[in-house]
């Protein structure tokens, strides 16, 4: 301890009790702080897990439906159909819903109307179409049960429905099957008959319009700003506009769409065309910003090399810079499209909340999209819509996950360190 005697020093006694206690306190604070950080991470993750589990718990049931095996004695039924001439028209005129009701009453008792879904007759129609020969014999056909029975079978129905379910189970006619019509049908009034196909097709058409507009415009803007634009007032305004658009709340774009596209340009209301245009304006800044970063990361040496062998500036960009920047641009585009796919508010503004019972045929037909369909179903009073809403959410999340996964894959695959 040579230094202890040095003049003016009053060394700290680190071994003293006070110091030891103080150090212990500081380490305790350190542990608490670290634990608080871990807690924050875990709490956030737990919330995500809670959300996903809730949706799964509610939604997976939406993909199944309760079916009742209905014994149909065709010759004895009031059905007037000639097995030789089964056409769509003949089936439509045969008043199948009424016939189904009669048959069901005979097979299941007086309360049969409450047991079957309003769309039960569709199963019978499809069965006849598939094999007209059944018209001459007695056939057992699985038809969807009503919402009340469906809920009771999935164990949260009214006492009355529970009793009916118990009875049906005793008769051995109750079964659970995959609800194919949820994927192939569109919106409806009864939870047992609704499906996501209409909204899904609307989303698809809307995304096509969005992509067709925002991708070329976004890439062109990114190329112009990064490669050609001189530093002047016009460039400044473009940059400010893009950064500003990227931060504008999505609902403002809806107001723009309503006021400009619908009222000023008189484009069709509720159409995928207008929805796509509105979302394209929202997505474009995302693509521009991602595109500029991707273009920026192409090293200048490549441009110099191309210019050095006599390529024109346009050739440099289209032959060398753009292909190298493309993976980055695509990643940004997919992320922007994923955001657009989940967007709801601006589409409400332009009327894409219509009741769409038939899928749109083109971009100018009235349409709705998946998130808006979710919103509409979430407003329904009938309890059967809860699982349908959650099931639609699962479909939407699956698509978003797939898109983001693709973006991450692209980024990792093409990530280049220059």
């Amino acid at each position: 301890m040579t230094g202890a005697s040095a003049p003016g020093r009053n060394p700290t006694d680190w071994k003293s009790d006070i110091m030891r206690k103080r150090i212990a306190r500081r380490y305790a604070a350190e542990r608490r702080f670290k634990a608080a950080g871990l807690f924050a991470v875990l709490l956030s993750a737990a919330f995500l897990a809670f959300l996903l589990i809730t949706m799964m718990g509610n939604g997976l049931r939406g993909f199944t439906r309760t079916e009742i095996a209905l014994k149909v004695d065709f010759p004895a039924s009031p059905l007037l159909l000639d097995p030789g001439t089964i056409t769509d028209e003949a089936l439509n005129q045969a008043n199948l819903p009424m016939v189904t009701g009669t048959v069901a009453k005979k097979a299941l008792g007086g309360d049969a109307d409450a047991l079957l879904s309003p769309t039960a007759w569709v199963s019978i129609r499809d069965a006849i179409k598939a094999d007209p020969a059944i018209l001459s014999r007695t056939e057992t056909i699985s038809v969807p049960a009503s919402t009340a029975i469906d809920l009771a079978n999935k164990s949260e129905g009214s006492p009355e429905a529970e009793a009916q379910v118990a009875r049906l189970k005793q008769q051995g006619v109750l079964s659970t099957g995959f609800n194919w019509s949820f994927l192939s049908a569109s919106d409806g009034t009864d939870p047992t008959q609704v499906g996501i196909w209409g909204a899904f097709k609307g989303s698809l058409l809307t995304m096509l319009v969005t992509l067709a507009l925002s991708f070329p415009i976004g890439v062109a803007t990114a190329l112009y700003l990064e490669e050609y634009a001189r530093k002047n007032w016009l460039t400044d305004i473009i940059e400010v506009s893009i950064n500003n658009l990227a931060a504008v709340p999505s609902i403002i774009f809806g107001l723009l769409g309503l006021s400009i596209f619908l009222n000023f340009l008189s484009l069709p209301r509720s159409a995928a065309l207008v929805g796509g245009m509105t979302l394209a304006l929202m997505t474009m800044p995302v693509i521009v910003i991602a595109g500029r970063n991707a273009i920026k990361s192409v090293p200048p040496s490549i441009r110099d090399a191309a210019l050095g062998i006599g390529a024109s500036p346009v050739q440099v960009v289209f032959h060398h810079v753009l292909p190298l920047a493309l993976p980055g641009i695509l990643t940004g585009t997919i992320i922007g499209m994923a955001r657009a796919l989940g967007e709801t508010a601006p589409l409400l503004m332009i009327g894409m909340r219509a009741f769409i019972a038939t899928p749109p045929g083109g971009v100018t037909d009235p349409a709705t999209v998946l998130p808006v369909q979710i919103f509409l179903w979430s407003d329904e009073v009938s309890k059967g819509f809860v699982e349908k809403t959650s099931a639609a959410i699962i479909v939407l999340l699956a698509f978003l996950l797939a898109m983001n996964g693709l973006a991450i894959y692209l980024r990792n695959k093409f990530e280049t360190r220059w």
Binding site: M1, T2, G3, A6, P7, G8, R9, N10, P11, T12, W14, I18, M19, R22, I23, R26, Y27
Partner: protein, 265 residues
Amino acid sequence: MTPMTEAQNSLAIANPKMSARDVKVFYGEKQAIKGVSIDVDMDHVTAFIGPSGCGKSTFLRTLNRMNDTVASARVEGEITLDGENIYASSMDVVQLRARVGMVFQKPNPFPKSIYENIAYGPRIHGLAAAKADLDVVVEKSLRRAGLWEEVKDRLHDSGTALSGGQQQRLCIGRAIAVEPEVILMDEPCSALDPIATAKIEELIHELRGRYAIVIVTHNMQQAARVSQRTAFFHLGELVEYGVTSDIFTNPRQERTKDYITGRYG
């Protein structure tokens, strides 16, 4: 690869403040320090010299375990402070760093006031109970760092507003404020102009004896000016360690001689 022997370490220090025995440092697979043994005493300024990349800064950072902050770094061997192994589990790294202070290559005052910069250490270590005590510590530390006269009227200005040389003296004052036993200086003048450098060197002279000082420098003149002991590092090895005047006038090792005379580095 010449292993460290007593022949090269011409100094036998009886009562070393810090001593290292066969210290090896690895960054992942790469070995940066290849078995260094050295003693540092209280009464002299010790300079580590050598070409850049020779490991002198890396070795310096092992002396107060700053290498712990680098995830891939691994230290082998033994380093003691007053005979106590600083890599032992009983050694508390927080205390160690309070006892072995460090001044960095680039002045790094916190973006706080001058007063707060100095008060930071005493506050976290609980060395000043009352505000009045803290004021005393701040003034004493700034005086010792030779900065008091320049800043006494603007103690609450930002530390980052000072000139580079003043900032570095502030950082020295900050290190002094916790009453360390050893001060490690990692090329403290490399970012400064000659006048500021002269002031720091003068300060080192004044601090000598009160603290064990180890200074890393790539500037041989500076080593000759400020130190009494010099260690020459090359390629992660300690090539020669001795009294500064001996090293510069009469190096025993060929490599030391080549470096001193400017053949490489």
